[in-house]
């Protein structure tokens, strides 16, 4: 688990969240309230959806599309980028420090997440665990 967590405050804009992603190369941005409790989260895909809208999920596959044409050069609008992160955030999925490894892994599998915020007994964010952190921790105790 990483204890040095990059997070963003609820009053930040979507553009600021994108800039933070570019700068810090993280997989998930928890959104914290003033007391440090997670109130939501933004995944990389939430931001990328602004560039490649949801319509792509409407077609069964994209094998037949060899050139995305104008989609490649369509950037999110100014309005989309100036909206607060709270407008596009998702409900936070998190585990407590005391949770078992498999509970955390099962949550990740079910929700399709690659990172999971970890909170202490008071609900404050204390770290982020990645799928790799968890997976290797589970494998480490296997009999050799």
């Amino acid at each position: 688990m990483k204890r040095k967590v990059i997070s963003i405050s609820a009053d930040a804009t979507t553009a600021e969240a994108a800039a933070l992603y570019v700068k810090s190369h993280v997989g998930l941005l928890p959104i914290l309230d003033d007391s440090g409790r997670p109130i939501g989260m933004i995944q990389l895909s939430d931001l990328l959806n602004l560039e490649l809208p949801d319509f792509i999920r409407l077609v069964s596959d994209v094998d037949f599309v060899h050139d995305f044409g104008a989609v490649e050069t369509t950037r999110p609008t100014r309005e989309a980028l100036s909206q607060p992160v709270t407008a596009i955030m998702q409900p936070v999925v998190m585990v407590e420090e005391e949770s078992g490894l498999l509970r955390a892994y099962a949550l990740m599998l079910q929700r399709g997440l690659s990172d999971l915020p970890v909170v202490n007994a008071k609900g404050k964010l204390v770290g982020i665990v990645s799928r790799v952190d968890l997976g290797t921790a589970i494998l480490a105790v296997w009999p050799s």
């Binding site: 409407l58 069964s60 599309v65 060899h66 050139d67 989609v71 050069t73």
Partner: protein, 435 residues
């Protein structure tokens, strides 16, 4: 006392029917739930007051309509996962070479031809996603295309017996054959289709004049790769083709359209042997249950004597010139269809027309007026038809969502123009339509 005994069933059954419609129209309840609850209440009231029995309720269900819809839904459910609809849209995209007007005509024509034989909603559900993809690749607004697809599929559906649920109902009630629709409705729909397309071209002239940012990318689309399962597509299309051929001769062969459709579905299932669960998932069960429930409700109205009372009130109808009566019916149905679902309107009006026929009026042309009103009226508003709702919902996932006000600016003129054209053609062709 006798009068009260006769009036109570009429009032109660009418109230149940109207309350159920109110829930459907305000979308407070899903239409299937509102319909089934209404049917249950109608039968309960009928049993309590002794005007409607379970046997009558079962007899009121038009299994010809349900069988035809089910058979065609199974064929579409088999065709759906093959990517055939995507293939057609991609093919149209390539053929357009990125020229907007050409793309609109091609996609509009594909949608129309498909919706003449398949359910409009399914056609639009399957064509619209590929349309959005093509428009995004071109870098143009998908709004003109999505609206054209919804409006033209609603229009095209009027042309054949199997094109639209109201037509299935009308054919079943009037005894019109597949050929009757081709000789009476198709020529009128063909003219109206052109009117709708020309008007759409004019209304969207600004959007369609824009040069696509990336016209060359669309040429790199590969239709063959869009077809996921060519073998199943081929088999389903062959069976569909045979079914359509049999529809042409169903009257001469003394086969009901529902028998033809269910035989085709059975044949296709045996030939393709699909994953049954997946195929059944593709069937719109809620539509079938909704139809069944509406039949039971309307059967209750009939048993309570509501339609006899209405026909009695329409006593003056005989004095109205028959052509004018048809035009009035067409416009009333069109305006109602623009606001509400055209299926309950059609089901409720069928017994009224039959009652007028029993009273000695010439009703053959009235059936066509009902079909035209129900078919073209739905174009007027964003909630006028399920196809409209679907393209609007899908457009919310693009950069340019279609709003209700946009629809009233672009869809309403199309509805008014098509109804006006239908009126002129109805009046001109009246001697033929009443034969």
């Amino acid at each position: 006392m006798r009068q009260v005994d006769m009036l109570l069933p009429i009032i109660l059954s009418t109230l149940i029917f109207l309350a159920s419609l109110a829930f459907i129209f305000t979308e407070r309840l899903h239409r299937m739930i509102a319909g089934l609850a209404g049917a249950a209440l109608m039968l309960a009231a009928g049993k309590l007051l002794g005007f409607y029995s379970e046997a009558q309720a079962v007899a009121a269900i038009d299994f010809n309509t349900l069988g035809l819809l089910l058979g065609m839904m199974i064929l579409v459910a088999l065709l759906e996962p093959t990517g055939f609809f995507q293939y057609l849209a991609v093919w149209a995209g390539r053929l357009s070479r990125g020229r907007q007007v050409r793309l609109m005509i091609l996609l509009g024509s594909v949608t129309t031809v498909l919706s003449m034989f398949l359910d409009n909603v399914t056609t639009v559900v399957l064509i619209a996603p590929a349309t959005i993809l093509i428009c995004e690749i071109l870098g143009v607004s998908s709004t003109p295309y999505l609206m054209a697809e919804a409006l033209l599929s609603d229009t095209g559906g009027v042309a054949t017996l199997v094109g639209d649920p109201p037509n299935v109902l009308i054919a079943s009630a009037s005894g019109f054959s597949f050929i009757d629709f081709l000789t009476h409705a198709l020529p009128i729909v063909a003219v109206i289709w052109v009117v709708a397309l020309v008007l759409l071209r004019y209304l969207f002239r600004r959007e369609l004049a824009e040069r696509p940012r990336s016209a060359r990318a669309v040429m790199k689309l590969n239709p063959a790769e869009a077809l996921d399962d060519p073998q199943t597509a081929r088999r389903a299309l062959i069976v569909l083709g045979v079914a359509i051929l049999l529809f042409f001769f169903h009257h001469t062969l003394h086969l009901s359209p529902s028998f033809v459709a269910l035989c085709a579905a059975a044949g296709a299932l045996v030939w393709i042997r699909p994953d049954v669960k997946r195929t059944l998932d593709g069937i719109q069960w809620s539509v079938l249950v909704f139809f069944g429930a509406l039949f039971v409700m309307v059967g209750g109205l009939e048993a309570a004597g509501v339609f006899t009372a209405i026909v009695g009130l329409l006593d003056g109808a005989a004095a109205v010139p028959p052509v004018l009566l048809g035009v009035i019916l067409m416009w009333v149905v069109a305006v109602l269809s623009a606001i509400v679902d055209n299926i309950p309107i059609t089901i409720a009006l069928i017994p009224v027309i039959q009652g007028l026929g029993a009273a000695g009026l010439e009703i053959r042309a009235l059936w066509w007026a009902l079909a035209f009103g129900a078919g073209f009226g739905g174009n007027g508003t964003i909630i006028g038809s399920t196809a409209n709702i679907i393209v609007a919902t899908l457009s919310e996932r693009t950069h340019a969502p279609i709003t209700a006000s946009l629809w009233s600016k672009r869809g309403l003129p199309v509805m008014l123009a098509t109804c006006l054209a239908a009126t002129v053609l109805y009046v001109l062709a009246y001697p033929f339509l009443s034969r």
